[in-house]
Structure formats: structure tokens, C-alpha cells
Symmetry: C2
Subunit: 427 residues, 2 copies
């Protein structure tokens, strides 16, 4: 029996999938008895199809894939949440199994898609949507299910990790490393999704939903990007024995799911602190297993295609055996999301302020007024042009109080010269 594949999207990842099939289809048959055949490829770019030698099975209309009765598995790799949603829901409705790498789609319309798959009695798999080539969704859905998962924290965006690593190592500033990342192809021309933390937010929504058996959607994830991080913050972190990472964090707490994405100071002794450059890693804590970490390349043709084709092969194995889907939606609980205002953690807050007497006492007074206990305040970096950096580190404080401090300091006359840099501390 041969499992027939329809591929929608021939960009980087789609091309990588074709490459894997060309290289290893014989091995898949020999090692695992899995026979795959790519029978139809859809794209807006016939040139891409041509470049991968699949012009003979090319179409520019994805409906031709959905309506082809021979196709068993549809691979959706076009991204976005509009056409991609139609492709995925249409494929399921047409009785096909689906593999996707689409994080935004799963983080936004995950429930609808899981329900559609269940109604159709078909499978949906999306390993490549988080962490590129790193196996993480399958381990969470299979290997670790004997645990109550307590935390999932990840460096799940390679662009920002590359930028923060370079800022720390070279002391370059944000706009410099962004330009460098763009030149090297590690950042998009419009980098908003990466540097704003939205890409990471989609990924932690997916991971938290699986880890805690409770649906978390993209819009429920508090998200802060790295655009206000400066080398002076990374230097301060280093002095304190920390590094700064854009962390996607999800903790199970007594009050519900604490889920957020923001720049985070992490002790240099933490395993996630060893993850540099474009690499990704997801750190999972379970009540039985303790700490585990899954490390690898978070993006790129080969890594993402490795995950997509891993899903396809495992699915094909079941289809060949005539097995109905074994794992559907596991979001059986309905845990609340902890309001960000209730977060209790430590804060590093750097203010760029006017270099004049009274600023320290004025700002310190605002911390005191809102019951935010200050552990240290230090002037950092060079004075220049009448401007100076004041870096506060707090004891454990409530986010709502810290917000009140930030709001009130922003109102002080002739104090702030720029947006403050807020970095929460994860111990």
C-alpha cells in the first residue's frame, strides 16, 4: 500500500520535504515498510515547483488537492490563518489527514481544527509548528504523559535569540544586530512577528495547551518583545550572573496557567542559558521526570521538513495499518489564565533619565509608594548628552504594582528620556 501525499506550499519547508522524499523514500520502505508518493503539489509559484522537479504534478489550485480522492495526507505549508485555514479544514472535511507547520493557525484556530479532525475521524499533526526540527510535541503527547507537567519554557524564536546572543557577545545595539540578522537571512524585512514576541507567543500557546491539557490561544498570551533591550541591560545581567533571553513561559499554578512571552533574566547556571545563536530549546518540568530540555535548530528548510516528514511517516504507518486516530484533542480541562496583573516575580527595570539631581529620589519614591521593594539601584553605562541609565532591581513584587510604578514614573515631569526596559527575572 502506498500513501499518497498532496503538498500545498513550495517555499523553504515545502522544498525541504521534496528533498527528503527524493533522498530517502527507498529507505522509508526498507526500514519501516512505509511507502510514500507525492502525487500533487500546489503553489502560487510554478518556478519553485520547477526548481524542485515537480512541475508534472503542479497545480495552482489547492482545491485540486482537496478533491483528489487518491490523496491520503495533505501537507499545508503556506502559513497564515486565512487560506491555510481553508486548506486544513477543507482537507479534513474531504476525509484527508493533515500535517501542518502552521503555528499561527494552530494557536488561533486549534480547537476548531482539532474538532474538525475528530468529526472527520482523521488525524492532524503539527510537530513542525514549534521548535522547527526539535521533537517536542510528540514527546509531550506520548513520552511524558505520565507526568503532571509543571512548566514549559522555551527559547522558541531563533531570530531574537541570535540578536540577543550577538548583543551580549559584541555589545552591539539593537538596530545594528537587527540589520546584521536581516543581512544573514535570520530576520525578515519586517521583523515584527519575531522581535515583537508574537511568533514565540503562538508557540507557547500550542505547548501550554498540550502540556496542561487545557486550551490556550494566542490572544491569551501576554507578549512583550525585545525592541527596548540594549547592550547595557545585557551587561547588567552578566554582572548579576544572568543572561537575557526572549523566553516563552508557561507555568501551572494553583490559580491557573501563567503564560507569557517577554525578555527574561535567567541565571547563567540554567540549562536554557546555554542555548545561543539561532538555536532553540524547550525546557519541560514534570512532577516525575524533573527537568528535561529539548534542543535543536528552530527553523530552516532541513529542520522544519524533518519534523513535517516525521509526522507524515508516523501518520502513514498508521494509515497503512488501517488504524483510526489514536490521539485526538487532549484539552480536557479548562484552566483559567492567570491575569498578568497578578504575576509575582522580580524585575529589572532600566530607566533612561535626565541627568539631574532629584531624579533618583523621585523615581525611588514612586517604587516605595506602590509597595515595590527595591533590592538595588545602580547607574549603568555612560552619561551622554544629559542622559543617564538608572537600573533598578526589585525584590519579588506584583506586576500590577510594578505597572503602577512605570505609569507614574512616565508621568513625572522631565524625568524619562525613553521607554523603560523591563526584564522579568526567572529564578
Amino acid at each position: 500500500m502506498t500513501i499518497k501525499l498532496g503538498l500545498v506550499g513550495t517555499g523553504t519547508v515545502g522544498g525541504g520535504c521534496i528533498d527528503i522524499l527524493n533522498a530517502h523514500a527507498d529507505s522509508f520502505a526498507r526500514h519501516y515498510g512505509i511507502n510514500l508518493e507525492l502525487v500533487r503539489v500546489c503553489s502560487r509559484n510554478p518556478e519553485q515547483a520547477q526548481a524542485h522537479g515537480v512541475s508534472d504534478i503542479f497545480t495552482d489550485d489547492y482545491q485540486e488537492i482537496l478533491s483528489d480522492p487518491d490523496i491520503d495526507i495533505v501537507i499545508e505549508l503556506i502559513g497564515g490563518t486565512t487560506v491555510a485555514r481553508n486548506v486544513v479544514l477543507g482537507a479534513l472535511a474531504a476525509g484527508k489527514n493533515v500535517v501542518t507547520a502552521n503555528k499561527a493557525l494552530m494557536a488561533t484556530h486549534g480547537q476548531e481544527i482539532m474538532e474538525a479532525a475528530s468529526a472527520a475521524g482523521k488525524e492532524i499533526a503539527f510537530e513542525a509548528s514549534v521548535g522547527g526540527g526539535i521533537p517536542i510535541i510528540d514527546p509531550l503527547k506520548h513520552c511524558l504523559i505520565s507526568n503532571e507537567i509543571l512548566s514549559v519554557m522555551g527559547i522558541v524564536n531563533g531570530t531574537t535569540n541570535y540578536m540577543l546572543t550577538n548583543m551580549a557577545e559584541q555589545g552591539s545595539d539593537y538596530s545594528e544586530v537587527l540589520r546584521e540578522a536581516q543581512l544573514k537571512g535570520f530576520a525578515e524585512a519586517d521583523p515584527t512577528a519575531d522581535v515583537g514576541g508574537y511568533d514565540a507567543a503562538a508557540k507557547i500557546a500550542i505547548l501550554a495547551s498540550i502540556a496542561f491539557n487545557s486550551r490556550v490561544t494566542l490572544d491569551e498570551v501576554f507578549t512583550e518583545g525585545i525592541t527596548h533591550i540594549s547592550p547595557v541591560d545585557l551587561e547588567a545581567a552578566r554582572d548579576m550572573g544572568y543572561c537575557v533571553k526572549l523566553l516563552a513561559i508557561a507555568h501551572r499554578t494553583a490559580e491557573g496557567i501563567d503564560v507569557r512571552v517577554h525578555p527574561t533574566m535567567l541565571p547563567l547556571t540554567h540549562q536554557l542559558a546555554t542555548v545561543n545563536g539561532v538555536m532553540n530549546a524547550i525546557y519541560v518540568v514534570g512532577d516525575a521526570v524533573g527537568e528535561t530540555m529539548f534542543f535543536g535548530p528552530g527553523a530552516g528548510a532541513g529542520p522544519a521538513a524533518s519534523a513535517v516528514m516525521g509526522d507524515v511517516l508516523d501518520m502513514a504507518r498508521r494509515l497503512q495499518a488501517g488504524v483510526s486516530p489514536l490521539v485526538g484533542c487532549t484539552c480536557t480541562d479548562d484552566l483559567p489564565i492567570v491575569p498578568m496583573a497578578d504575576l509575582k516575580t522580580k524585575y529589572y527595570i532600566r530607566f533612561t533619565v535626565a541627568d539631574r539631581p532629584g531624579v533618583l529620589s523621585a523615581t525611588a519614591g514612586v517604587f516605595a509608594k506602590h509597595d515595590v521593594s527595591v533590592r538595588s539601584v545602580i547607574q549603568r553605562g555612560q552619561k551622554s548628552g544629559g542622559i543617564v541609565n538608572l537600573a533598578y532591581v526589585t525584590h519579588t513584587a506584583r506586576e500590577s504594582n510594578v505597572r503602577a510604578v512605570l505609569d507614574e514614573i512616565a508621568q513625572l515631569e522631565d524625568v524619562l528620556r525613553d521607554e523603560p526596559s523591563v526584564i522579568r527575572v526567572e529564578d
Copy 2:
């Protein structure tokens, strides 16, 4: 439908499994629709059964578990390769599925057991046999199968990693850290299996068999332990930008499988170099995915039980659905093992020699004679009692030539004062 379990072995890991069942059986039913019931427990120690509150289902005869027609899954946690082999083969022959944590058994009798499972149409799972709680066998058997795996390298023995970490950090010598590890319960009273590298050898045999689709058995793994490593070696490594780890290594090469366990100098920039103390990690390189690493606790009640119960749950999911085994033995190829004599790598070799003129030239002459090109030689550590350490680092050389050098230097009159410390370099 309830899946009934028979547990053989109530030591650390068996106790951990009972704890997980007690804590989470309700969650397994709610989240995954998996219903588990422990119906029989076998052990040589009724006290252990009593301590875990399972005296009512206790037996000291494992045949009672094999012959119980109600039992669906037998969990073998007694270790060793004699009784355990009888339990596992007996259970399969009796039509039961089997989960085991037994690395020695799988690395020695893996083929026989896989064939017995296949003949019986039953499943055998052994995630806990490598890396404790770290998911690695399932990712290799599912997530990464779209890759040709090029390398698997692991820090898979917590005892030796703890000892090497402490020797490096504290400068303590081998016998000191061994004693400390024994006091803390990280090393056995008879530490041979750990410090001799045999535990790691069993694990890499299992990983290589899966990764390369070709059976590797324990006796085929070249194995060297850490007993000759001294703080002076770790200091030398540090000076060169390396750390020393007991690595279990398996590479796919044009000549076959290069598989071995020995102390290894690893660049400090390598991701495995960040794995310290009792933690384990397995580093996998695939042709599509590139570098990945799986990190976590390699031993302990909770971690090992997490892996065992993960296998049990995933198996139970299939049994409840009436699904026949989906993945059997995948050792479809028959790759040769590369003879250790043919290995080509760089070597660090420290000789403890008599502190007298002529020793340097005599030893250096032997390297030259056997065509082993020396990159550096340096006197390391303190002279004491007429003894001095000479540390050679070679360029890439052939193992057989290096062996000839070592043999000949051992024969030199009045030169060696102790066994040399040989550390291969992995770049």
C-alpha cells in the same frame, strides 16, 4: 476497558511506577481515556511491596504474573540478563505486552526479544533503558525517522558525569570523588559498571541499533572507563578549551558503524559540554534536522518511572483501540562495525614517568617510529617523588598506531610509573 498491569520488581523504579499510578490514574482516564489497573506485583522483597501499599496483590513468583490471563502488560524492572530474560520472553510467549527499563538485557538479547515480540504479535518498549526520564528512543523511532542519522553521542551515565564534573570543579582526585559519589548515593558500592563504561556501552548499543537501523550488541562496543583520569587531565583539557566527558559515541561512516565508549575531550563550545553533574544528554545529528540534543535526569525513581509509565500509557492507548503493534524491529540493515584499530582521531595521552633525562626523547622517539605526529608535549602538574607527568597531544592518528606507541612505551625500561591516561578528542 481497563488495561491490567503486572509489575515485576519493586525497587526504586518499580516504586516510582506505583507512585505515579497512585497520583495520576484519574488524570490518565480524564485526559487520555486510558484506564490502568495494577493487578499483581512480584518481588523478592515483600517489605518493598508493603512500603508501597501493594501487599494485597503481592507474589514472590513471577510465573503467577505470566500465567494470569487478565494481565495485558508486564513491566519488568528487576534488571540483569538471566531472570529478567525469562520474565520478558515468558511474558511475550504468554501473549502479554512488555515494558522494560533493562539496558543490559536489550543490548545483549535485543534481537531475540524483538523476534519473540514479533512472533507473539505483541509490543516491547524500553524507553527507560537509555537516559532515564529523557525521551530519546521514541523520538528516534518516530519524530526523526525522516532523517538519515549521522551521529548519536551521549552522556548517558550520571555517576561518571558527576565524578568528572566534580574532579574538574574541585580538582579532587578519582578515589576522592568516587567516595563522595558513593556517600551521596550517586555511585554503587561496586562501581565497575559505571566507572568502567559498561553501563554506557549498553546504552549506546541500543541507541545505535535504532539510529542506524542495524543491530549493535553490547560486546561490539569498544569500552574504556574513567579510572585513569586525574585532575591534571581535566586541567589540561580546560587549558586547551575542552572538557572531559565519558562519551558514548556512534557515528555512521562509509566503512560502517563507529561505536565506542571512552573518556573524550570535547570543545567547551559543544552543547554536550554544558551537561554537568548527574544529568544526562543525548546529542543526535540527522542529515535533515542537523544537531539536536535531549537533556534530563538519567536515573532516579521519578525519571525512570516517568519513562516506564510513558511506555505503558502509550501501549495501553493502542491496546484499548485494539491496534496491533505498529513498530517492530527496525534493524533492517546489517552494517559492519568499524574495527577500533581503524579509528582516526586526535589523542591526548598523559604518561606518568620517571623524572630523569632521556625520558622525553625516548617517548617522543616511539611516537615518531609509529608515524604518530605529535602536536604538543608538555610537562603537567607538580614533580613529586621523582615522578612527572608528560602530556602528549597528537594530530589525527590511527588507533592501531597509537596502540603500538602505548605498547612500546610500556616496554621501555624505567620509564612508566603508572598506566597512561588516554583521552580521545572529538572535534
